[in-house]
């Protein structure tokens, strides 16, 4: 029974990683850049939801939607101001800019909300029958896992069956050829950032609902772990991000429970190294036959 509750905790944590990893992986797949500020958008999402609930007394669902809107705008603005001018620049310049944006967001949050931790009231709690709580299942865990599954299915459908989704895949393969088809590459990249950032807001709310301490650096560690999850599953792959996130969460929870709390992160990253040694393109990394 104890094992089961650790497993639930791991799957729930993993679902948050998966939602964040989906944002990383989509942006990487289409813009071919690692948006290291993605983790900090999560933190902003948490703060916005907190403020909406605490100061404006808005209902939870409205606060969550507000936080998604703010993060979507933030993501599009970051892309337009910081990354778009560097479209022709080397990938190192973009990477350093992304790190800069990350620090900028953290410091801006510190200015606005201070360093004192805010205690987040769960935005997704509802009463559960006692049988479930005895098993270690919380309402947060249920909502988190359910959101993750819904998001993953919705994204897969979107990317495979809508015109915009197909245009995204075309951009991710060959931007020049995509332009020749009449696809506006800049708008497609903006769209990707918008989706990724909206997901980051959801991830922020879910994360803070489970771990209620909210500080300006709340997003960094989950951000890095989710990036790891995306690489673990095969970066650029949507199901890869999902599986990578879940596995990472479960491994972390098990390592904490049965090996050592202090070593948990080391174990998580050790597993990543081993996976990458055996499968350099990640678990679901694609092998594409190329004809010349």
């Amino acid at each position: 029974m104890v094992f089961f509750s650790y497993l639930i905790g791991g799957i729930s944590l993993g679902s948050v990683y998966a939602i964040i990893a989906l944002g990383y992986t989509m942006v990487y797949g289409i813009a071919k850049m690692l948006n290291f500020a993605h983790g900090d958008v999560i933190m902003v999402g948490g703060y916005i939801c907190y403020c909406a609930m605490t100061y404006l007394n808005l209902p939870a669902i409205v606060s969550i939607l507000l936080s998604m809107v703010v993060c979507t705008v933030l993501g599009v603005v970051i892309e337009g101001l910081a990354y778009r001018p560097l479209r022709q620049a080397g990938s190192l310049a973009v990477l350093i800019t992304a790190i800069g944006v990350s620090y900028f967001l953290q410091n801006a949050a510190q200015l606005i909300w201070g360093v004192t931790p805010k205690i987040f009231t769960s935005a997704v709690s509802f009463p559960l029958p006692e049988g479930l709580t005895d098993l270690g299942i919380s309402s947060e865990a249920i909502v988190t896992v359910a959101s993750c599954v819904v998001i993953m299915i919705a994204l897969t459908l979107f990317v495979n069956h809508t015109k915009m989704g197909k245009a995204m895949r075309a951009c991710s393969e060959d931007k020049g050829a995509a332009q020749l088809m009449g696809i506006n590459v800049n708008r497609t990249i903006s769209m990707t950032f918008a989706i990724g950032s909206a997901l980051a807001a959801i991830a922020g709310v879910l994360l803070c609902s489970t771990f209620p301490t909210l500080i300006p650096t709340t997003g960094s560690m989950p951000g890095i772990k989710a990036f790891t999850a995306a690489v673990f599953g095969g970066i650029g792959s949507i199901p890869g991000a999902f599986i990578g996130g879940l596995l990472l969460g479960v491994i972390e929870a098990m390592a904490q429970a049965y090996i050592s709390t202090n070593l948990a992160n080391a174990i998580v990253f050790a597993v990543l190294i081993v996976v990458l040694l055996v499968r350099p393109s990640g678990l679901l990394g694609k092998y594409v036959p190329e004809k010349v």
């Binding site: 197909k166 393969e173 050829a177 020749l180 036959p289 004809k291």
Partner: protein, 233 residues
């Protein structure tokens, strides 16, 4: 229809296209021939807005394309089938074709798709297959079909015969002849000068970024200098 007027294109400090002018009239097949690195693809990329000319102008149906972004060019009626085919390898054949009609209203797509499948029955057989699993010849057909999906007024083909076996080259040129007969205006860039000149109404010979000769396709085929340099004597 297309009027290229004294364009100069640079790659950084390299002066790749030096004052090139030419035109393509309605219903014509015009070919640009020349050796590797003569600037043929650079010219097509300039017409489709992927590269910009520092001077001169590119006019299409009387409109200057100088400041039109690349993704708007296809909507003006120019389809560019790029060098090396550049189909979307991880997407299916049908998805690739749909991308060709990206700027067209959804209602027209089914009709264009039917027409392209009629022209390329092989693509219809493979419609659900991932483009990366097609042979080189099939990928070229897909690239051409994708170009035709936008129902272009001008089709620009960049080295459609590159890397294909002789029998496939014949097939591709048969398709070009058919498109010509059906009234499609085509700007064809080729290294295979003999084949290109045999289907073209007119041709331009390009050498290190400059046009050195031009004339009717048949005349160029019999031109001694062209024969010597590009047709193997």
């Amino acid at each position: 229809m297309l009027k290229v007027n004294d364009i100069n294109v640079y790659y950084g400090a390299i002066h790749a296209i030096k004052g090139v002018s030419f035109e393509v009239n309605d219903g014509e097949v015009v070919t640009l021939i020349g050796a590797n690195g003569a600037g043929k693809s650079t010219i097509l990329n300039t017409v489709s807005g992927l590269l910009r000319s520092r001077t001169g102008s590119v006019e299409f149906l009387g409109k200057n394309l100088g400041s039109v972004p690349a993704h708007k060019i296809v909507d003006m009626g120019i389809a560019h089938v790029p060098e090396g085919r550049r189909v979307f390898l991880q997407m299916t054949v049908e998805e690739n074709l749909e991308m060709g009609a990206f700027t067209r209203p959804n209602s027209g797509v089914a009709g264009h798709l039917e027409r392209v499948y009629e022209q390329f029955p092989r693509l219809k057989e493979r419609r659900r297959q991932i483009a990366g699993t097609l042979s080189g010849g099939e990928q070229q057909m897909l690239a051409m079909g994708r170009g035709l999906m936008s129902d272009p007024k001008l089709l620009m083909l960049d080295e459609p015969s590159m890397g294909l076996a002789p029998i496939l080259v014949e097939q591709i040129f048969d398709i070009i002849k058919e498109l010509h007969k059906a009234g499609t205006t085509i700007l064809l860039v080729e290294q295979n000068a003999r084949m290109a000149l045999s289907v073209a109404d007119r041709g331009y010979v390009l050498e290190t970024g400059k046009i050195v000769t031009s004339g009717a396709g048949a005349d160029l085929l019999n031109d001694e200098a062209v024969k010597k340099a590009y047709l193997g004597g």
